[in-house]
């Protein structure tokens, strides 16, 4: 079963929830956690792990080979991303604009644009002893997170069967990287905070999940600050609130040190246990 942990707004507790929930559920279930926030992966900071395997990840881009090129201009014409441009008597490729569609390469009459790999990130597979942890990180300067997220999901699919509960710590926002990270999940946990920003952004995330026709529930983090608008919103729209994690300065301090919360704060553990119960019931239902 695949569970994605997402939020519209950044900094609402996706990573905190992912690492703590994975650690708690791993006490009884087979668990793998994948950090799909490849632009700023943080889950690994909260886990003590041993590295099992690492590999570079690539995207394919065209590389101009001038020997047979007749400068017919076809490549430039077929590229919808302006990633291949003819300047005077040479062809320039702009890798950061390329989406690896292969059109320029395969439609070139002289095979002058063979596709070559370009490193976009690194995937690490490690173990905490209790569960497997996969992290991918985008090379700084690479702009597209989606290809790396896609390849990370493929790695998880190939290495872990359906007995596993697979958690995906997703990127913030509602655009393409989030869609990629959540579109294959069986259930989405949206974590937010009870503030006007939190409410505004979780509504965007909810609309996104409705568009994707996904089942989802809401977790309220830092419960106690702000107001109760999010609770009213969920009640009015029949959206399940899975848990309310209390607001406490000591929790923020423990988080800041990179430590897990559930062993230290029984009130957090109680709330995580509610989510765990929900997920396990869902798993039985799906099976």
């Amino acid at each position: 079963m695949k569970i994605a942990i997402a939020s519209g707004k950044g900094g609402t507790g996706k990573t905190t929830l992912s690492t703590n929930l994975a650690s708690l559920i791993a006490q009884t279930e087979k668990v793998v956690l994948a950090d799909l926030d490849v632009e700023e992966p943080n889950s690994g900071l909260f886990l003590k792990t041993d590295l099992l395997h690492s590999e570079d990840k690539f995207k394919m881009i065209p590389e101009w080979n001038d020997s047979a090129c007749t400068l017919c201009g076809n490549c430039q014409e077929v590229c919808n991303y302006h990633a291949v441009i003819q300047i005077m008597d040479s062809i320039m490729v702009f890798p950061e604009l390329c989406h690896s569609c292969y059109a320029c390469s395969e439609l070139c009459p002289t095979d002058s644009l063979p596709m070559v790999p370009k490193k976009i990130g690194e995937l690490k597979h490690s173990s905490t002893g209790d569960f497997d942890f996969i992290e991918s990180r985008l090379v700084i300067g690479e702009e597209q997170a989606v290809p790396l997220i896609k390849q990370t999901l493929q790695y998880v699919d190939q290495n872990f069967d359906n007995d596993y509960i697979k958690f995906f710590d997703s990127p913030p926002g509602t655009s393409c990287p989030v869609i990629e990270a959540t579109k294959d999940a069986d259930f989405i946990i949206l974590i937010t905070e009870p503030t006007p920003f939190g409410l505004n952004d979780v509504i965007l995330a909810i609309e996104t999940m409705q568009e994707l026709k996904k089942g989802f529930g809401v977790v309220i983090n830092r419960y106690g600050i702000g107001n109760d608008d999010i609770i009213d919103y969920c009640n009015e729209n029949s959206i399940p609130i899975l848990a309310k994690i209390p607001n406490k300065r000591e929790i923020a301090e423990t988080y800041s040190k990179g430590e897990l919360l559930f062993d230290k704060f029984p009130e957090v553990k109680t709330e995580l246990a509610k989510i765990a119960t929900y997920i396990l019931a869902l798993k039985t239902q799906l099976a």
């Binding site: 950044g10 900094g11 609402t12 926030d37 700023e40 926002g173 503030t195 006007p196 800041s256 040190k257």
Partner: protein, 290 residues
């Protein structure tokens, strides 16, 4: 005209609350651009009233005309995005997977595929409560290309600033290090990094600064919730020192941020205490530095 871009790497560090405060302090001298088009929040503090709203088109989507399609499967063969679905030999396009490369349309032997321009969201020019102008946008659900919408919002803000003779454009960026962030950094005069002293905050600050350094941009840093972890706070300051980043200010962990937000106000309108004074001081430092 100078362009001040506020980013953070990590989300939730207080970037938007701080940027909106600067927008209020800058008053008539600034044009505001909310470039976090993915999860825009600044409107909740600045209450923009739209003067002009436009649709934004970017990229394309393949559409198959089923009356013409012979189900030959060529589109399916060439698509690298698994965007062609085949159900009972009906070939169709999965809109969320299609990246609009147009390859399928080029190889379709019967010209059954057309590419239609994609409406990815709306952008607005608005008057905010300071009497100044704000450019902001809303990306459509699951839409691609936030980098291009970001560029649009920023460029419109710059045009307005130039036309109206404003001194500053202040930009609220998005979290991360990907296309929207790259897009918001392009052309910046000064970058304000907002971080917090947590190991995630420091980790993300370092990554996003690597990007800022690639662009050779001058930067300063505000450490928010500065007192939650003194050890990491010191590590951040060491990092700033090493990299020659201006340390603008330490702001305390203060729930007044949230209280102000709940009232639809920036912190400089809401409170009169230390926090407000420090943000006013920060704005002065930024203006002196650029």
């Amino acid at each position: 005209m100078k362009e001040i871009v506020v980013i953070s790497g990590k989300g939730g560090t207080g970037k938007t609350s701080i940027t909106a405060s600067f927008a209020v302090l800058g008053g008539q001298d600034v044009v505001v651009a909310d470039c976090d088009v993915d999860a825009a929040d600044m409107h909740l503090l600045l209450q923009p009233e739209p003067i002009k709203t436009e649709d934004f088109y970017s990229g394309e989507l393949a559409v198959i005309n089923q009356d013409i399609c012979t189900q030959c499967g060529k589109c399916f063969d060439v698509c690298r995005f698994d965007a062609i679905t085949v159900t009972d030999s009906i070939h169709d396009v999965d809109e969320l997977s299609c990246e609009g490369c147009g390859y399928c349309a080029r190889v379709c032997p019967v010209e059954a595929i057309t590419n239609i321009p994609l409406n990815v969201g709306k952008w607005h020019i608005s008057k905010i409560k300071t009497g100044s102008t704000m450019v902001h946008a809303k990306l459509g659900i699951g839409a691609d290309n936030s980098g291009k919408l970001v560029a649009k919002v920023k460029n419109e803000a710059k045009l307005i600033a130039e036309k109206e003779g404003k001194d500053y454009v202040i930009v609220d960026g998005s979290p991360g290090v990907g296309c929207p962030v790259v897009s918001s950094l392009t052309g910046a005069s000064f970058v304000v990094l907002v971080t917090e002293p947590s190991i995630s905050g420091l980790h993300d600050l370092k990554r996003v600064y690597e990007l800022v350094a690639k662009f050779k941009l001058k930067a300063g840093c505000i450490i928010n919730k500065a007192d939650i972890n003194t050890k990491v706070n010191l590590q951040i300051k060491e990092f700033l020192e090493e990299e020659g980043i201006v340390h603008i200010a330490d702001l305390p962990y203060d729930e007044n941020f949230t209280k102000a937000m709940t009232k639809g106000q920036t912190i400089v309108e809401y409170s009169d205490g230390y926090l407000k004074r420090t943000i006013i001081e920060s704005w002065k430092i930024i203006l002196q530095t650029i």
